[in-house]
Symmetry: C2
Subunit: 202 residues, 2 copies
Amino acid sequence: MSDMTSNADAPRSPGRPRSVRADEAIVEAALDLLAEGSTIEALSIEAIAARAGVGKATIYRRWAGKEALLLDALRRLKGVMAQPEGHSVRDDLILLVGAIGRNVDPRASKIMPCLVPEVNRSPDHFRLYQNIIAPRRQLMREVLRRGIDEGLIRADIDLEVTMALLTGPMLIQRVLRWNPELDEQTLPEQVVDTVLAGIQAR
Amino acid sequence: MSDMTSNADAPRSPGRPRSVRADEAIVEAALDLLAEGSTIEALSIEAIAARAGVGKATIYRRWAGKEALLLDALRRLKGVMAQPEGHSVRDDLILLVGAIGRNVDPRASKIMPCLVPEVNRSPDHFRLYQNIIAPRRQLMREVLRRGIDEGLIRADIDLEVTMALLTGPMLIQRVLRWNPELDEQTLPEQVVDTVLAGIQAR
């Protein structure tokens, strides 16, 4: 899979090659069907092809199967990953935390939560979900490792627990609107500062 | 609303009064319909009555309407609230964090995530969702206030942010299985200790 289909910011132009326009129509068709309530399980290559106005062969030329197509489609929902600047560990963590659960595509709020029961039932779907979020977790892990290397963060912390502490509050607030008292604008900074205070080197 | 309908541990016995059996059948019918994929919006008192084998009047004698019935039904899904012992702030927080996202009823994993898009669209449903989780948040807030009173926790912390830090990691792990590297057994203690280290009085 190329980066092209993951790049939600790619400009549309009438001069793009026909194959790119077809790819886009296919991905859009899959997302529309999911947003309209189709489960991953019920979603078929036939239905996607029909909605996109292409033949099944066009889809299979580009993707090995439904899972590969959905990986591209669901990644597209989440837009381009935030890129840490690499100067201040605190600033980079605030950037990454601020990007959590921020979906560029409005269909995401309809699609993502309902995938949860499916993801929990099927090992294939769980792998798909992990493939989408693992690169984002890895970015955060690298910033924390940098903090340890720079002597800011204790070397004995549990990185996975620390990432859950940084990610959880923002994710429940953005996806579930967990607590109306919270301010999403200031939350990333407040979360990062409290967690850093708990894991800072003495 | 009495505590009876919220008590998932209540023993069933053939000797219970008919009205209690009817209440239970009604709540069960509502949960079954939701678990089978009905949206809150599409769920009707008619459908619940038909599934429960009672008349609509029986439902309206007990609940003012669909929202009140659903509040009881969804609370039942979550079982009895954990009760802090009131001795150690750390132990009480570990108890409350350990109870987050632990649903006694297997239908919950099918029902709860799919409510999210509905909850975000409708102010009524958002109020319903907040009515379910607010008492649990309040329990945690009281334990944190006790920690402040006892001089363990800094008085200037943001209580709502602290609660999000305590709740978020466990909720994303239990509901989304966010990170396969995390151990759900040790997570509550790890989360509480890291957060307490970040908010402890100097």
